[in-house]
């Protein structure tokens, strides 16, 4: 019995030695972690991030690797599913940092995961860029954590100003998801900005619903009754079509204005004609895009048979920021801890990064200063550039 | 003073009169029988007396104190033990656990004891375990102490149930058809158990029973219940010869 066991083990050891010996040459590979939700509430977000990241990796591979200080490094992606859960995001981040020796992490995307995962990354001094998280707490007081998008505190006033200038309205209505971090934050910043411009009580309806709701008739009836001149809708592409259609069915004829979360091409695909003519604020306009942005959109569309959404674009930019950071390091030591620190400093120093979602410079907090784009949905359902608003 | 006294007890089930003007007196050590056709309200009377149901009218006193409105476990702790027609054993518990469980009201170690395993708890658990073994031995079931009740033969289950009822240290024991569905051998064993309870423990017993043989042998007085009303009361002999009883009860059902 015992002997048999030992023999088996000995065989195992030999197998291990013979099979895995050649793999040791992996040392020069730089690993970038991608901490995204492939399952859970928002699988689409994970899918888009993965697509963008794979496209980026293709580019690197085509170029033969990343050149740093005269040496060429291979790059590998470590894509892990965080199931859209906070605890999973933390374990994934910890695992990437301590087990997989990643140089930097992109993601998590949503704030409920980016906040705790940012804590982990900051503690382990690993650069992390959350392309999509808008919660101030994600980067607050965390030198190693950056984000790829503008904050709600910027976007809210932008929209308030835009609507005032464009339509000259005085009475606003807001409908948002109370259980979700991003819409709630943005709704509140918008309300604050609007009331600052038009006095207290000028937001005549401030209504909410809960994630996964599909019937908004009661809230919309309330909004219509309030006499609001337009509706601000900081919601995602899966709710926007429903809300807009239901509003029209209830007799709402005033404009509906959106936020950057409308940026997905799905919005207009699901919404159809009901959304035509609406304005929203976003990172980039797909229709009529130029230069690198257009190249990205065309390539992505060809490869994955769909127009890239804002998550894909922001993830793409985040990866390029990391790439630029790595390239601007004088050299990599091969010791992952030192390299992470060097990379962090390099990223923080990046000035005027030309991304497809606009030019970026990081503040001391790790938040980018970038311009917002106001987009109009054309009568053909395309996102047409309308105006650019810079801080 | 009688041990248990019931005066003019009446109960309605949403308008339906289930028990009407019921009176009962049980003295210490006495064995009383309650017979009647199915659906006459015998088990309802048990449920009323043990606090499962609250009578619409009437008074119930145990050793001179009113027990109406007390919860079943309080009445049980004051000295009315009972068995059930369908036994109601706890599926997943062993024989010993059954009998120990019925000591619940006698435990005083409280939550501290339960959570932290104090000395007091160890002592009390040991005490009730000892008592449980004594009762099981009395019921001739101690050899099954560590077995799950569901695996035991029917006669043994009945004896375990009896031990469980005795563990509440009752002054009076309510037995709801304790011999139903028994084989002749099991019946003999059960009757021995009755004798033991009566002779060795000196308990008063209130018995619902269909088998006249059992009623005849043990009961000092018998009531006959039909449609919630007592139509006859007396010694077993008197009852057996009462024409009303024969008509209502014996005439219809074959006596085992």
């Amino acid at each position: 019995m015992k002997k048999g066991f030992i023999v088996v083990l000995a065989l195992l050891v030999m197998c291990g030695l013979s099979f895995s010996a050649p793999v040791t040459s992996e040392a020069k590979t730089l690993t970038i972690g991608l901490n995204v939700p492939m399952t859970g509430d928002i699988p689409k977000v994970g899918e888009s991030s993965k697509h963008a990241a794979q496209m980026w990796l293709e580019d690197i591979k085509a170029a033969g690797g990343l050149k740093v200080g005269g040496k060429t490094y291979k790059v590998a992606l470590d894509i892990e599913d965080n199931e859209s859960k906070a605890d999973s995001a933390v374990s994934v981040a910890t695992k990437m940092i301590t087990q997989d020796d990643v140089l930097a992490i992109v993601g998590p995307q949503s704030s409920k995961q980016a906040v705790p995962a940012g804590e982990v990354c900051n503690n382990y001094k690993t650069p992390m860029i959350s392309p999509w998280s808008t919660n101030p707490a994600t980067t607050d007081n965390r030198p190693y954590v950056f984000r790829g998008c503008f904050l709600d505190s910027f976007q809210g006033p932008v929209m308030a100003k835009f609507v005032t200038g464009e339509y000259g309205f005085k009475k606003a209505a807001v409908l948002y998801d109370v259980a979700s971090d991003y819409p709630k934050g943005l709704a509140e910043f918008f309300k604050k900005a609007w009331e600052k411009m038009h006095g207290a009580g000028s937001v005549v309806a401030f209504e909410s619903f809960t994630t996964k709701d599909t019937d908004f008739s009661s809230q919309l009836s309330k909004i219509i009754k309030s006499g609001a001149q337009f509706l601000f809708l900081p919601q995602y592409y899966n709710e926007v079509p429903l809300i807009v259609q239901q509003a029209h069915a209830l007799g709402w004829k005033n404009p509906i204005v959106g936020s950057d979360s409308w940026g997905s091409p799905e919005t207009v695909k699901l919404c159809g004609k009901d959304c035509y003519g609406s304005f929203f604020c976003t990172h980039y306009a797909a229709a009529g895009a130029k230069g690198a942005t257009k190249a990205f959109i065309d390539r992505y569309t060809k490869k994955y048979k769909e127009v890239p959404d804002d998550v894909a674009a922001l993830t793409w930019d985040s990866l390029h920021i990391i790439q630029k950071g790595i390239e601007s390091c004088a050299k990599l030591t091969g010791k992952v801890k030192k390299d992470r620190e060097a990379l962090r400093n390099a990223i923080a120093k990046i000035k005027d990064f030309k991304g497809i979602t606009g030019n970026m410079t990081f503040t001391e907090n790790g938040d980018p200063i970038k311009c917002a784009v106001i987009v109009k949905i054309s009568d053909k359902g395309e996102y047409k550039f309308y105006k650019s608003v810079c801080p | 003073m009688p041990l248990l006294q019931v005066k003019n007890m009446t109960h309605f089930f949403t308008g339906l009169r289930a028990v009407h003007n019921y009176n009962l007196e049980i003295n210490p050590g006495e064995i009383r029988g309650l017979i009647g056709p199915n659906g006459a309200g015998k088990t309802t009377i048990f449920n009323l007396l043990t606090g499962v149901l609250r009578p619409t009218e009437g008074e119930i006193t145990l050793e001179g104190t009113d027990i109406i409105g007390l919860r079943p476990h309080q009445i049980a702790a004051r000295g009315i033990g009972r068995t059930f027609q369908n036994m109601k054993l706890w599926r997943h518990m062993t024989v010993l656990e059954h009998v120990k469980m019925a000591h619940y009201s006698q435990l005083s170690y409280g939550l501290t004891g339960a959570f932290f395993g104090t000395k007091k708890r160890v002592r009390q658990e040991n005490e009730i375990e000892e008592h449980a073994h004594t009762l099981l031995a009395l019921m001739d079931a101690d050899q099954f102490a560590d077995q799950k009740v569901l695996n035991l033969p029917y006669g043994v289950q009945r004896r375990v149930e009896m031990a469980r009822a005795l563990a509440t240290r009752p002054k009076i024991l309510f037995l709801d058809e304790p011999t139903v569905g028994m084989t002749p051998e099991e019946l003999v064993g059960m009757m021995n158990v009755f004798r033991k309870i009566h002779n060795e423990l000196g308990l008063a017993i209130f018995l619902i029973e269909h088998r006249m043989k059992v009623v005849m042998e043990f009961c000092q007085r018998v009531q006959t219940l039909v449609f919630g009303e007592v139509i006859a009361e007396g010694t077993p002999d008197e009852i057996q010869n009462d024409p009303r009883v024969i008509e209502a009860y014996l005439g219809k059902e074959e006596v085992a």
Partner: protein, 307 residues
């Protein structure tokens, strides 16, 4: 007043969905004494099947083989997807519940929960993460009746679900199988001895329940045309609340409780700040159950999840 009436209309539509899903829950719950936690996901699957059929039919129509009006396509879609989803229901019963017929009820509930997760992730794996929009089979027409807005879709949803409820009620009260089901809900043990096999009744119950869920799913697709794999979870759990609120053994009770839940949610939003909707709506449910512990129409019956 118009505002109030508007909300009554809103609640009627929203309640219809709760009612339809709660009916399926209640069928299985009343007859089999099971929590079919997969029901919300069967509803989702029904909607997706409906989507597939509608798309297919539209493709046939647009290729010019036959000309079908939109409403006929809708009717066909509902009927076919009800049928296919019924088969799915039978399959779920066969795989997930029949082996557990003598097991504790809670275990069967867990199986249902897991089948639900499999349906969700299976959908995700098959169709990918992108959402689908339900094809507009009928054009939305909004009618303005002195300030109260009603659309043809809303009327359709309410009418179809009421029709289905009545049909189910007739089935259960008048047909042989329906009576057998009712008998089964009274006595799980005796009825099989009377020549009614539970192996027939159980799949049939699941089939009907799933069929209703599919009808709900297609109507849902018409009314809220964005489908996603997780759309059945929340509405399913809330319909579960309605089904039990209605009371065991009372299928119509479940439907009424579904409407009641819809009305509570809509009117709480109407009166209170909408952020407090879930808080107040569920507190009302809690209070109702504290004072009417057996639901509205259920028999005073305390079912244990026996181990």
């Amino acid at each position: 007043m118009t505002y109030f009436l508007q909300n009554v209309i809103n609640a009627l539509q929203w309640g219809s969905f709760y009612a339809l899903i709660a009916l399926g829950y209640s069928m299985v719950y009343s007859i089999m004494m099971l929590f079919n936690f997969a029901h919300g996901d069967i509803f989702m699957t029904g909607a997706y099947i409906g989507l597939g059929i509608a798309t297919g039919l539209l493709a046939i129509v647009s290729s010019g083989v036959i000309a079908l009006p939109g409403w006929l396509i809708l009717v066909l879609t509902i009927i076919i997807s009800m049928f296919i989803t019924s088969l799915l229901g039978v399959l779920v019963e066969r795989i997930g519940y029949r082996p557990l017929r003598n097991a504790p009820r809670a275990s069967a509930a867990i199986t249902g929960l897991m089948i639900g997760i499999i349906l969700e992730t299976g959908n995700l794996a098959l169709l990918g993460a992108k959402r689908f929009s339900f094809p507009p089979l009928i054009m939305t027409k909004a009618y303005n009746i002195s300030g109260v807005f009603v659309t043809n879709k809303k009327i359709l949803v309410v009418l179809v679900s009421l029709t289905l409820m009545l049909a189910l009620d007739l089935f259960v009260r008048k047909t042989k199988w329906g009576m057998a089901m009712r008998a089964m809900s009274y006595d799980f043990v005796v009825v099989p001895l009377m020549g009614v096999s539970i192996d027939v009744i159980a799949p049939m119950t699941f089939a009907i329940g799933s069929g209703l869920a599919a009808a709900g799913g297609v109507l849902y697709g018409v009314a809220y045309p964005v489908l996603d794999p997780y759309m059945g979870i929340l509405i399913g759990w809330k319909a579960f609340v309605a089904a039990i609120l209605g009371g065991r053994g009372s299928i119509m009770g479940a439907a009424l409780a579904g409407f009641l839940l819809g009305f509570i949610e809509i009117f709480v939003t109407m009166i209170f700040p909408s952020t407090l909707r879930d808080l107040i709506a569920f507190s009302i449910v809690l209070v109702i159950l504290t004072f009417r512990p057996h639901g509205f129409f259920g028999k005073p019956y305390s079912a244990k999840l026996r181990l």
